[in-house]
């Protein structure tokens, strides 16, 4: 059994983990937006079809969801570290570790939903109009 008052050292912990999944969402949105904007301005015109741009957005979605999924698994594992249960409010390295994992996991969840929302656009819309 792992002693709950022990836990990973502070140096191994990073607040940046919290931002990875939402940043993946931002990158996905911006890439999708830039792709369709350039497509509709340079490749075709305002009445043209999205064509391959849809597949490009689908590819971004796959990459973004894979990254978010990986972050989620990572977060969930930290949330389940040792024996502690929520609300992770103890003054121990173990609970700090679990808390950051849990928050990372939740953020990955909302980022995944938001990414799917954005990607649905190219499922329903096929032209630049």
């Amino acid at each position: 059994m792992i002693d709950d008052t022990q836990g990973p050292e502070e140096e191994t912990e990073s607040l940046w983990w919290l931002t990875v999944a939402p940043a993946a969402w931002v990158a996905h949105l911006l890439a999708s937006y830039a792709t369709v904007a350039v497509w509709c301005a340079k490749v075709t015109d305002r009445d043209g079809a999205l064509g391959d741009a849809r597949w490009m957005v689908a590819a971004y979605t796959a990459v973004a969801l894979a990254l978010i999924g990986w972050v989620a698994v990572h977060g969930f594992r930290r949330h389940r570290f040792g024996e502690g249960v929520r609300p992770h409010e103890l003054d121990t390295p173990g609970d700090r570790h679990r808390f950051l994992g849990f928050a990372t996991f939740l953020l990955a969840g909302v980022s995944a939903v938001a990414t799917v929302y954005v990607s649905l656009v190219v499922v329903f819309i096929g032209s630049c109009q």
Partner: protein, 843 residues
């Protein structure tokens, strides 16, 4: 309560009474507020925070009065109280004042005041920066508002769209808006730096990241948002002001410009701005709700999710303000989807609050009334928000009074009600006395009823076809009754605010002090005795819980008797603890600055630079700018990176901490990093502009466009890379030998100067007024050169510091921070040169 092994406990036995008294005397002397006219040289959070908050409320009242006059004008059809021009100035100032001079500053002000108390810190790490920010804000705010009394106020609406504001507006109004508010935005970024470093580095020992008050989570998120949201607006302000002052055609379609770029830059700022305003108020709610429910917040982790998630998602919504600009439908749909997604984290936090209220036994005091009134109002605004986030609906409702109704529901429900509630809640922390429960209830009901009578009819007037920003409307439209209702409601709302103001200002001499921790809260700010002492906290506690006042036994006694850290000020200096970002392990005893006039003087001269520029008086502007520069250098020279008289200091409980730290463990390094992240964001906004012109216009670069000479850009970039390397070498060598440092910094200076000069020559003979392409080339090279020149000045500063022995091999904060700055110069120059030389020609 479970804690980690080896967790620090307070002293078993108290110090003797005599020693405690002596400690208090020394602390009082160190933190003494200056008296007489020197009072205004104070920089401590307890003074600056109060001035800042009071000023923000002053601007709030001014903005509210403007609204009342507008409502009188609109009460009946074909009214002639205000003419169109005056009305335009009123609504523009109303929006600008409420957003830029009230909503954002009030949160910064309040946080500067209360965040150190919440974190058990004596002060935030950069008190002079806060003070500088406050004076900038006051001067800029008075300048912008004062313009109304000369009939020169801006009248382009709070978002200042060109070409209305470039080709169709006479006078100084737009310049006053652009320069006056840019000046204030700088102050906002300064506050953001202060708050981020405060939350990450100035927590009490043991307050791990899973234990920090929810308020500080929100503040961290909001300050980071300011850092990435304001710079695009500053970039846009630069473009618009340069077009107005020097005729560079960024927004002029005749010469390749595009007014839509302004809308992008404005709303990349403007949408996060809505959440920058909303989240701090929700942060206040997150402090008030557990206190009145008498139970810890339910779903702390979920609230953190909501805060961080909203912060990110809010940056992906900006195009929903541009649904009617003719962008491709698919682009609109992407942002519509994102706009719907943000309802998830927003909803999550509201459910957490409601759950907390359900779990606890709620005491219905005035602060709770405002919180619940705010919830219901905000939810209505949120739901109409979901409606206007849908493109087909927005096409109908855009620019109508429906949007006015929606945005006021969000802002008054989500922001004003919680702020007034928080004023009732936190008021005892300022003067030690309560506001009146009776007047509070009266104020609430007047405001709540007044709000609904004002803004619910606006949804209907909007759907019936009344556009925003019209100074009157004809009788035949049949909008008279609804508008009259709105006007009556506005006065009831105003009356509610008046009752609150009376409550604040009524004499309280005979009223007894509130009892300590009057609401029975669990968080550190309520350690304050009534009335409070200027030192912030008697001794800096070791934290074991999210609600230490509820959970840690004998906590108040231990703090009061100095049984924790830093119970004394032996050297008579102002000190606080710096801790690590995740686990809040103490790493430094930081000496913070005391009273000074320098911050105020620097703000006055900075104000001169902006204000003289507004009226194209460039000589006094430059003199004022030079004086601001001299003042800031003096401030840095005398007040920063001071070498302490000894290496370490015993801070109590057997702990000895260094007094000087450089690099990532120091607060100054973090300040520089955060400031430069903001700067980099502004730069990337300009680069975005360059690519935007390329996608939006077919003639951005054509076969006829004069070619850019490769020589000077290449020389400039190469010299800057060299200067960066030499600066880095100077940092490394400084730790070994003085000679090595001098040699490296000399090379860095030479190359830096050469690089700056070459970058200024880089645009060659291109004429920036001819077309937007040469204008962008000039702007980007100019931006790079300016950064390189500032970098050279910093190198000179380090050289002087080393010669003056204010920096040495061991105490190297200056050169370490300057090297960090140079990393950003390097990235700026390399990206500029690569983009301008390589794109789109090499495609």
């Amino acid at each position: 309560m479970k804690t980690a092994k080896g967790d620090v406990e307070p002293l078993e036995e108290p110090f003797s009474e005599a020693l405690q008294e002596a400690q208090k005397q020394r602390l009082r002397a160190a933190w003494k507020t200056p008296t007489g006219w020197r009072y205004w040289s104070a920089v401590n959070n307890t003074e600056v925070g109060v001035w800042y908050t009071a000023t923000a409320f002053g601007f709030f009242l001014f903005g509210g009065l403007l609204a009342l006059v507008m409502r009188v004008q609109l009460a009946v059809p074909d009214n002639t109280l205000l003419d169109a021009n005056t009305y335009d100035q009123f609504f523009t100032l109303h929006g600008s004042v409420m957003m830029f001079l009230f909503a954002v500053p009030v949160f910064e002000a309040f946080s500067i005041m209360v965040l150190p108390e919440m974190l058990g810190a004596r002060d935030l790490p950069f008190p002079r920066l806060s003070s500088y920010g406050f004076w900038c804000y006051l001067i800029g705010g008075v300048f912008v508002c004062g313009s109304l009394f000369f009939g020169q106020a801006p009248m382009g609406g709070w978002f200042m769209y060109p070409p209305l504001t470039t080709q169709y507006t006479e006078g100084y109004g737009v310049d006053i808006w652009l320069l006056g508010l840019s000046f204030i935005e700088v102050a906002s970024i300064a506050a953001a730096v202060e708050l981020i470093v405060g939350v990450l580095k100035c927590r009490p020992p043991g307050m791990r990241i899973n234990l920090i008050p929810l308020y500080s989570w929100y503040i961290l998120v909001v300050a980071a948002m300011i850092l990435f949201a304001f710079p695009p607006l500053i970039a846009g302000d630069i473009l618009l002001e340069v077009e107005r002052a020097f005729d560079w055609p960024f927004f002029d379609p005749e010469r390749g410009g595009d007014p839509l770029l302004w809308q992008h830059l404005f709303w990349i700022f403007g949408h996060p701005e809505v959440y920058i305003v909303f989240l701090p108020s929700i942060a206040l709610v997150a402090m008030i709700v557990p206190t009145f429910a008498k139970t810890p917040m339910v779903g702390y982790g979920w609230v953190v999710l909501a805060a961080v998630g909203t912060g990110f998602l809010s940056f992906g919504l900006w195009i929903h303000h541009m649904f009617t600009t003719g962008l491709p439908g698919v682009s609109l749909a992407l942002f519509s989807a994102a706009s719907e997604a943000i309802a998830i984290p927003t909803g999550v936090q509201l459910f957490c609050f409601i759950a907390t209220l359900l779990v606890g036994r709620v005491k219905m005091k005035v602060p709770m009334l405002f919180v619940l009134g705010g919830f219901s109002t905000f939810i209505i605004g949120g739901l109409t928000g979901v409606m206007v986030a849908l493109v087909p609906f927005d096409l109908q409702a855009h620019d109508s009074y429906f949007v006015v109704g929606h945005l006021h529901s969000v802002l008054i429900g989500g922001t004003i009600f919680p702020i007034i509630g928080a004023a009732y809640y936190f008021f005892p922390l300022i003067g030690g006395k309560h506001l009146s429960e009776k007047l509070g209830r009266l104020s609430f009901w007047l405001m709540f009823v007044g709000f609904n009578v004002t803004f619910v009819p606006m949804h209907l007037t909007g759907l019936l076809g009344m556009p925003r920003r019209v100074f009157t409307y004809p009788e035949e439209l049949g909008l008279g009754a609804l508008n009259m209702a709105s006007t009556v409601g506005a006065f009831i709302l105003g009356l509610g605010v008046l009752v609150f103001v009376i409550d604040v200002f009524r004499p309280k001499k005979n009223q007894p002090y509130a009892k300590r921790n009057p609401w029975g809260a669990g968080t550190l700010e309520w350690l304050a005795p009534m009335p409070d002492e200027a030192w912030g906290v008697r001794s800096i506690p070791e934290i074991d819980s999210r609600y230490p006042l509820w959970d840690q036994p004998n906590f108040v006694r231990d703090v009061d008797e100095g049984r924790f850290y830093l119970p004394d000020a032996e050297e008579g200096l102002r000190e606080t603890l710096v801790t690590s970002p995740v686990d809040a392990q103490p790493i430094q005893c930081l000496r913070v600055a005391g009273p000074t006039w320098l911050a105020m003087i620097a703000a006055i001269f900075t104000g001169g630079l902006f204000i003289f520029s507004t009226f194209h008086m460039y000589t006094p502007a430059l003199i004022s700018g030079a004086l601001a520069f001299v003042t800031v250098v003096r401030w840095l020279w005398t007040g920063t990176a001071v070498i302490p008289e000894k290496k370490e200091k015993h801070v109590g409980l057997g702990l000895t901490l260094p007094l000087y730290r450089s690099g990532p463990k120091s607060v100054g390094w973090w300040g520089m990093l955060i400031m430069m992240l903001g700067d980099m964001t502004a730069f990337l906004a300009l680069i975005f502009g360059y690519f935007f012109y390329w996608t939006a216009d077919t003639d951005f670069v054509t076969a006829d466009t004069p070619a850019l000479d490769t020589l000077w850009p290449a020389v400039g970039a190469a010299a800057i890379v060299g200067s960066w390397l030499a600066t880095y070498a100077a940092k490394r060598l400084n730790r070994r030998t003085a000679a090595g440092f001098y040699g490296a910094i000399a090379v860095a200076l030479g190359l830096g100067a050469l690089g700056s000069w070459a970058l200024l020559r880089a645009p060659g003979a291109l004429d920036p007024t001819a077309h937007v392409y040469p204008a962008m080339v000039w702007l980007l090279f100019g931006w790079s050169a300016l950064h390189a020149i500032v970098g050279v000045i910093m190198q000179l500063y380090c050289l002087a510091r080393r010669i003056a022995r204010r920096m040495d091999g061991e105490h190297d904060i200056d050169i370490v921070n300057v090297t960090l700055y140079w990393h950003f110069v390097l990235v700026t120059v390399v990206i500029t040169t690569a983009v301008l030389l390589g794109f789109p020609r090499l495609l």
